[in-house]
């Protein structure tokens, strides 16, 4: 018994080390962001002597992080709203309505799930350019919706499949139209799944860089992550400001993670556990 307990600690110590290695990079970056440039050059490891917000403020105003932040916020909000609306509409129809071609459509949407963005990005860019949507907010929103819609439809379909058919029938007998059932019954009932899928989609869109690079070439329209990549060139000699920019982009995600960790994990494993 004592042997077993010893083994557990032998394992736990390196695991604690790994946990430290998981946290440290962000702690290091935060600490750097609090230092003056001089402090950083003299000693980059020591704990900053004070909480200094100058660098954060500089990154926020001088470098245009505030502009990028706003761009990201707007695009992510619109994208997630549309994803949830279209995803739940399609999920409800596929899970709870009977019509010809239902399985073909489901399989078609499923197939789209397996197409990586890198494979279609060249022709997509041309389609968007032909439609005059490159470098516009609606264009980027549409690109995000297209990218994450198959995943959203898939999860909403599997969630609505667990809603008892009796509920839908009862609502129909009460005189609701199909649209009424969707709007008054299925949308509210889908809330738990909508929150999980919504948070995941918000993370995907917020964290994306490739789609945004492709769709929003002009500097004014940069999203936050593209903004971070451009910081490196502009501030290669002022690392504390660079670190501050990175922090600004990471903080919203950290907050979401702290409060919704379980939801995120549930969303990630939703597919893996259903088998």
């Amino acid at each position: 018994m004592a042997g077993r307990r010893l083994t557990r600690w032998v394992v736990a110590v390196p695991m604690a080390g790994l946990a430290l290695a998981t946290i440290y990079p962000l702690v290091f970056t935060t600490n750097v962001a609090m230092k003056t440039r001089r402090e950083y050059i003299l000693d980059r490891f020591s704990l900053s002597d004070s909480l200094r917000w100058d660098n954060i403020a500089a990154a926020w105003t001088n470098v245009g992080m505030s502009r990028y932040f706003l761009n990201s916020a707007v695009v992510v909000t619109c994208s997630v709203a549309l994803l949830l609306l279209f995803g739940s509409m399609a999920g409800f129809a596929l899970a709870r309505l009977r019509f010809r071609g239902s399985s073909v459509l489901f399989l078609g949407i499923l197939a789209a799930l397996f197409i990586p963005f890198q494979v279609i990005m060249v022709p997509l860019a041309r389609i968007m350019a032909d439609a005059g949507l490159v470098d516009t907010y609606p264009g980027l929103v549409l690109a995000y919706v297209a990218q994450f819609l198959p995943f959203t439809v898939f999860l909403m379909t599997s969630y609505y499949s667990t809603v008892p058919a009796e509920i839908v029938d009862a609502a129909r007998i009460d005189g609701n139209t199909v649209y009424g059932v969707y709007w008054r019954i299925m949308l509210p009932l889908g809330a738990p799944a909508l929150v999980s899928v919504g948070v995941l989609n918000a993370l995907f869109c917020w964290n994306d860089v490739l789609i945004s690079l492709l769709m929003m070439p002009s500097a004014d329209h940069r999203t936050l992550m593209v903004g971070v990549t451009s910081l490196r060139g502009q501030y290669s000699d002022d690392i504390p400001v660079f670190a501050s920019g990175v922090l600004i982009a990471a903080v919203p995600v950290l907050v979401v993670y702290l409060f919704l960790q379980r939801r995120i994990a549930d969303g990630v494993t939703a597919g893996a556990t259903k088998g």
């Binding site: 946990a19 509409m89 399609a90 963005f117 819609l149």
Partner: protein
Amino acid sequence: MPSGGSPSSVRTMVAERDEVAVVAAARRPGRPFPRRTRRGSRAERLAPFVLLAPAVLIIVVLRLWPLVLGVNFSFTGDGDRNGMPVGLDNYATLFADPLFRTALRNVGLLVLLLPVAVAIPGLLATFIYLRVPGHRVFRGVYFFPAVLSPVIVGAIFNLLLAYDGPLNTLLGGVGIGPVDWLGDPDVAIFAVVGVHVWATFGMALVVFLAGFSALDPSLLDAAKVDGATLPQTIRHVIVPALTRTIQFVFVTTMIGMLTSMFGLLFVMTGGGPEGSTYLPEYYIWVQQGQFNQPALASAASSVLFVIMLVVGLAQIAVLRRTGREV
């Protein structure tokens, strides 16, 4: 979650072949609407199609159609020969390009590193499941980098892996290095893959833990009663019970490596030094975005798609074989 926390890796995580069948079966309505609604208006009968229209339209026009278009592009020319059919010229150019060959060689390297990238989260999940001291904290902490954008991760590791950065200082303390992590062509790709594994192992860990939650605890009790050691328990109880989860993680990890490292490459190495960290997705981006060679980029896209298909089919083959054995 992830090109962001890796969208593509999560996107594919929910798409394992088997549960697709389960969902397909489960989503069949238990019962059609009551008969009397059949006389419902035309608007009612069209309702399913109206509800599906936005999703289907967007997916067909912006995902399925581009796939067809892209394969088509890959057989036409760039620049002066824009739009003209050129047969397999782009593919010939592609396979003669040292950068693309490096990209393919790096894919091979990823395949070789795959077992390590799967074993690490697998082992950690096992320990967490067996309740090592602090397991609750570990679970929360390990998953956390998975939600960060590759851009953030890359930017942070640019600082950590700098020649005069913290890692080299640490290694210097024990008499190793310094290593030029991102500047040495023989080292850089390993550094980038290492960072990718650091950033994503939490995702696979969570999937493993979900697999464990379906494991019958009495099996482990029986193993304990029989006096099995930990390695024996893992080999004879846990691995057989989690076969499907392990296969699932193998495929999703591979797909993640092939489709969600762009952000890291873009921020950390830009494909360098000497083009040593190119991957197909980065090659596609450079040809399209920098050199304006969409046809060549499309050919590279088609090759990437074939690689992904092979990964998918290999998975199905493995599943079939194990299915027959059981």
